[in-house]
C-alpha cells in the first residue's frame, strides 16, 4: 500500500507535469530545429513567434466566446487554433519576404541571420504587447480536471491523490497527433523527403530539381503550425504572458541542442529530457521516502537536490555538459 502511495505521489508531482511540460518544450524544440536545419539559422524570435500565435488564438477565442460558441467540456481555444495558424502563417511569410529572404538569397553567414532574428524578436514582441498588453491572461474554459485528487482518493482508497488536469491530457494527445503527423510527413511524403534532402545538402537538392522557394514556404507553414499549437498548449496549461514566452525560448533552445540541432526526433526527445531533469532534480522527495522507508529511517530534510529556484539553471547546465562532451547532441544532429 505504501509502495502504491509512493508511486502515485511520483506520478502526480513528477511524471504527469513533466510529461505535459516536456510536450510543450518538444513542440517548440522541433520548431527551432526545423528552422535551423532548413533555413540554417538560430531563431532568437522563437519565443515571441509562439506568443504571437497564442495571442491570435486568444483573440479568436474571445470572439468565439462572444458569439456563444464553445466545445463543451473542451476549451474554446482548440477551435481557434486553425484560424490562428492561418494568421500566423501569413505573418511568418510576410516576415520572410521582407526580412529573411534578402539574407538567404545573399547567402549571408548564419550569424547575420541570427542577428536579424533578434530584430524580428523585438518587433514581434512590440506588436504582441501593443495589441494584447503585457499582463497575464488565462483563456482556459471548459472542464478543468479529468480526475480530481479527492475523487481519486475515494475511488482507490489510497492516501495520495492523483489529479490530472484536462489541459495536460489535451497537451499530450495533441502532441502525439501533431508529432506523428509531422514525422509521417517528413519521412513518407515526397515534399517531406525533399525538405530533408534540402536540409542535408542544399546544392545536391537543387541539382535534383527541388524548388527552394516551395521548401522555404512549407517550412514556414509547418513552423507556424508548431509555434501556434505549442504556444496555445503552454498558455492553456499555465497562462499567457509575453514575457514568460520570451523566457521559454531558453529551455526550448536547450532541448533542441541537447537532442542534436537539426534533428527533429532528437528535439522531440530533448524536450522531455529537459522537462524531466528540471522536475526530477528540483522535487522534494521527503514524502516519497516517508512512504518507502521504514519509520525509523525517515529523513528530516526535504531531500531536495536543488531548490526550485534553480529550475531553469538545471536545463542550462545539462546543455553545457552536453555541449562539452557531445557537441552534436544526444542524437547526432548537424555538427556546428
Amino acid at each position: 500500500m505504501d509502495f502504491l502511495n509512493a508511486l502515485i505521489l511520483l506520478l502526480n508531482y513528477i511524471f504527469v507535469p513533466a510529461l505535459a511540460y516536456g510536450s510543450q518544450l518538444a513542440i517548440g524544440a522541433i520548431f527551432v530545429t526545423l528552422i535551423y536545419g532548413i533555413l540554417r539559422f538560430a531563431n532568437f524570435a522563437t519565443g515571441d513567434m509562439m506568443s504571437f500565435g497564442t495571442m491570435v488564438a486568444i483573440l479568436f477565442t474571445w470572439y468565439f466566446q462572444s458569439l456563444g460558441l464553445s466545445l463543451g467540456f473542451l476549451p474554446t481555444a482548440l477551435l481557434a487554433i486553425p484560424f490562428a495558424i492561418l494568421f500566423m502563417g501569413l505573418y511568418m511569410l510576410t516576415i520572410d519576404k521582407f526580412v529573411f529572404k534578402y539574407y538567404r538569397l545573399n547567402k549571408s553567414p548564419p550569424v547575420q541571420l541570427a542577428m536579424v532574428s533578434i530584430g524580428v524578436m523585438f518587433v514581434t514582441q512590440a506588436v504582441v504587447r501593443i495589441i494584447i498588453g503585457p499582463s497575464d491572461r488565462r483563456f482556459f474554459d471548459g472542464e478543468k480536471f479529468l480526475i480530481r485528487a479527492n475523487e481519486f482518493k475515494e475511488m482507490t482508497g489510497l492516501n495520495e491523490g492523483l489529479a490530472i488536469k484536462s489541459t495536460q491530457v489535451i497537451t499530450i494527445v495533441v502532441t502525439i497527433i501533431l508529432v506523428s503527423t509531422l514525422f509521417w510527413f517528413l519521412n513518407k511524403t515526397k515534399t517531406g523527403k525533399s525538405m530533408r534532402a534540402y536540409s542535408d545538402n542544399e546544392d545536391l537538392a537543387l541539382l535534383s530539381g527541388i524548388d527552394p522557394k516551395k521548401i522555404v514556404m512549407i517550412t514556414w507553414m509547418i513552423a507556424a503550425i508548431l509555434a501556434t499549437i505549442g504556444g496555445v498548449l503552454y498558455g492553456l496549461d499555465k497562462s499567457f504572458k509575453p514575457f514568460t514566452y520570451f523566457n521559454n525560448m531558453l529551455p526550448i533552445f536547450a532541448a533542441a541542442i541537447v537532442g542534436g540541432i537539426g534533428n527533429p526526433f532528437g528535439a522531440f526527445l530533448g524536450g522531455y529530457v529537459i522537462a524531466f531533469s528540471e522536475i526530477l532534480l528540483t522535487y522534494a522527495y521527503k514524502k516519497f521516502f516517508m512512504y518507502v522507508l521504514p519509520e525509523s529511517m525517515e529523513p528530516d530534510g526535504l531531500i531536495q537536490l536543488l531548490s526550485t529556484d534553480y529550475k531553469f539553471a538545471v536545463s542550462f547546465s545539462i546543455l553545457v555538459i552536453v555541449l562539452l562532451y557531445r557537441p552534436s547532441g544526444i542524437f547526432k544532429g548537424k555538427i556546428l
Binding site: 539559422f41 538560430a42 532568437f44 526580412v99 534578402y102 553567414p109 548564419p110 550569424v111 547575420q112 541570427a114 542577428m115 536579424v116 533578434i118 530584430g119 524580428v120 524578436m121 523585438f122 518587433v123 514581434t124 514582441q125 512590440a126 506588436v127 504587447r129 501593443i130 498588453g133 503585457p134 520570451f246 531558453l250 533552445f253 536547450a254 541542442i257 531548490s307 529556484d309 534553480y310 531553469f312 539553471a313 542550462f316 547546465s317 546543455l319 553545457v320 555541449l323 562539452l324 557537441p327 556546428l336
Partner: protein, 456 residues
C-alpha cells in the same frame, strides 16, 4: 580632420539631441540619459572588442554586468559582523572545499590517462564534493539568512569605497569569462551565442537565489556613493552661493524677499540633483576616455592587426603561427572585463543592486543592437551606438505618444483605440529598436560609423 568629419558630425548631432532634451524637458533628464549613455558606451566597447575585433559572439553580457554589480555590493557594503560569526566559518570552509575539488579534478586529469575510470573518478569527486559542501554550508547559510533578515541577512562586503569595485568588477567578470571561454570558445558562432546566453541565465539564477551572498531578490539598497548626497549639498554654503550666482538673473526679477527665498530653495534642490549627476558624468567620462584610448591603441597595434587577421581568416592566421585559441580566450576575457566595469558603474550610479532587474532583453540584446547600429569594429561607432540606442530607448515613449496623438487626432479622446494605443506607448521602444536594427542590417550592415582600417 577631413576623414573624421562623419565622426564629428555624428557626435555633434548626438550631443545636440541631448542638449535639446535638457532645454525642452529638464536638465535632470538630459543628464540621466547622458550618464546611462556613457555606461552603455562602456558595455558596447566591451562587446565591440569581442565581436568587432575578434568576431566572437557573446550573448552573456547580462551575466557579466550582474557580476560587476555584485562586485559593487561586495566591495562597498559594510561587513555584517553577526552574520560572519554566525555562519562565516562554514562558508569559508565550503570555499576551501570548492578549491579542493578543483585541485583534485586537476590532479586526476594530469595524473591518469584518458579512460572511462578517470571519467567516473572525476564524476565521483564532483558529486561527492557537492554533497559535502551542501552539508557544510547549509547550517551556515541558514544562520546567516536568519541574522536580521529584514535589513541584512547576508554577509555584507568589505566596506571599501565603491570606486574600487569598478576594478574588482572587471576581475570578477574576467574570471567568469576565463572559465566560460575555456569551456565554450571552441564552439561555432551560433552555438557560442546560445551557450553564453544560457550561462548568463545560470549566473543570474545564482545571484538571485543565494541570499547569503547577495540578499537575492530582497535587493541591496543605499550603497555608498562616490559623489556627495543631495541633502548635504542643499545645506552647504558654497553650493547655495554657486546656485545663487548661476541663477542671479532669474532671481533678480523677483522683488519679494520671501518669494525670492522660495525660488532660491527650488533652484538649490534642482541644482543639487543636477550637480550630483554631473559628478557621475565626470567619473564615467574619465572611464570612457581611458578605455577609448586603450582600445584605440590596441586596435592599431600589431596585436590589433593580428586579431583582425584571426577574425577574417582563422586558418591563415593559425598557419602564420598565431595561437588562435589563446588569443580568442584573451579577448573574450578582456571584453567581458570591460562589461564588468560597466556593471559596477551602473550599480554605483543607481545606489542599489536589484538582481531581479537583470533581463536578457535589456542587458544583452539591447547592447547588441547598440554595437550593430553603431558600427562593429569601430570604437567610435560602438560608443555612438550606445548613445543613439539608449537615447531612443528612453525617448521612444514621448516620441511614440506624439505619433499616436498625431495619427489618432481625428478620434475622440475616449475612443477605445486611442486609449489602448496611449496605454501601450511604452512598448513602442521595442518596435523602434527592432525596426531600427532591421533597417541598419539591411541597408548599412556595417553600422552608422563603419569600421575603417588605416595603416599608420
Amino acid at each position: 580632420m577631413r576623414k573624421n568629419l562623419n565622426v564629428i558630425a555624428a557626435y555633434s548631432i548626438m550631443m545636440g539631441l541631448i542638449i535639446l532634451v535638457g532645454i525642452f524637458q529638464s536638465w535632470n533628464i538630459a543628464l540621466s540619459i547622458f550618464n546611462l549613455c556613457l555606461i552603455s558606451a562602456v558595455m558596447t566597447m566591451g562587446a565591440n572588442i569581442q565581436w568587432g575585433y575578434a568576431g566572437l559572439i557573446n550573448f552573456g553580457i547580462m551575466g557579466f554586468t550582474a557580476l560587476g554589480g555584485l562586485a559593487a555590493v561586495l566591495i562597498s557594503v559594510n561587513p555584517v559582523q553577526e552574520a560572519w560569526s554566525a555562519g562565516g566559518t562554514n562558508i569559508l570552509l565550503s570555499l576551501f572545499l570548492i578549491i579542493g575539488i578543483v585541485l583534485a579534478v586537476r590532479f586526476v586529469l594530469k595524473r591518469y590517462q584518458k579512460s572511462k575510470i578517470r571519467n567516473y573518478l572525476i564524476a565521483a569527486i564532483i558529486i561527492g564534493g557537492i554533497i559535502i559542501i551542501r552539508l557544510v554550508s547549509e547550517p551556515g547559510i541558514e544562520a546567516i539568512e536568519e541574522v536580521n533578515p529584514a535589513r541584512t541577512g547576508f554577509l555584507g562586503g568589505l566596506g571599501l569605497p565603491i570606486i574600487f569595485s569598478w576594478i574588482v568588477g572587471a576581475f570578477f567578470a574576467g574570471g567568469l569569462a576565463f572559465v566560460i571561454g575555456k569551456v565554450a570558445l571552441g564552439l561555432r558562432a551560433d552555438y557560442l551565442a546560445i551557450a553564453t546566453l544560457l550561462i548568463s541565465e545560470i549566473v543570474i539564477a545564482i545571484i538571485k537565489h543565494e541570499d547569503w551572498l547577495t540578499r537575492g531578490v530582497k535587493n541591496v539598497i543605499g550603497l555608498k556613493r562616490p559623489a556627495p548626497y543631495e541633502v548635504n549639498l542643499q545645506e552647504t554654503e558654497w553650493f547655495i552661493n554657486l546656485v545663487e550666482k548661476f541663477n542671479s538673473g532669474k532671481l533678480a526679477l523677483i522683488s519679494d524677499i520671501t518669494e525670492r527665498q522660495a525660488a532660491l530653495n527650488q533652484f538649490v534642490i534642482e541644482g543639487s540633483s543636477v550637480f550630483v549627476k554631473l559628478c557621475y558624468s565626470g567619473l564615467f567620462l574619465v572611464v570612457v576616455i581611458i578605455l577609448l584610448i586603450l582600445t584605440q591603441k590596441a586596435l592599431y597595434s600589431p596585436w590589433g592587426r593580428m586579431m583582425r587577421a584571426i577574425r577574417d581568416n582563422e586558418e591563415a592566421a593559425n598557419a602564420m603561427g598565431k595561437n588562435v585559441v589563446k588569443q580568442h580566450l584573451l579577448i573574450f576575457v578582456l571584453g567581458s572585463a570591460i562589461v564588468g566595469i560597466a556593471g559596477a558603474m551602473l550599480v554605483t550610479q543607481d545606489g542599489l543592486f536589484t538582481p531581479g532587474s537583470y533581463r536578457p532583453l535589456r542587458y544583452t540584446f539591447l547592447i547588441w543592437v547598440m554595437v550593430i547600429v553603431g558600427g562593429s569594429g569601430n570604437n567610435f561607432g560602438a560608443i555612438l551606438g550606445g548613445f543613439v540606442v539608449w537615447f531612443l530607448w528612453i525617448e521612444a515613449a514621448p516620441i511614440g505618444l506624439y505619433l499616436v496623438n498625431l495619427t489618432t487626432a481625428g478620434l475622440e479622446d475616449t475612443h477605445f483605440l486611442k486609449v489602448h494605443l496611449i496605454e501601450s506607448v511604452p512598448y513602442f521602444r521595442f518596435l523602434m529598436m527592432g525596426i531600427g536594427l532591421l533597417l541598419i542590417m539591411r541597408y548599412r550592415p556595417k553600422g552608422i560609423l563603419p569600421e575603417k582600417i588605416e595603416i599608420k
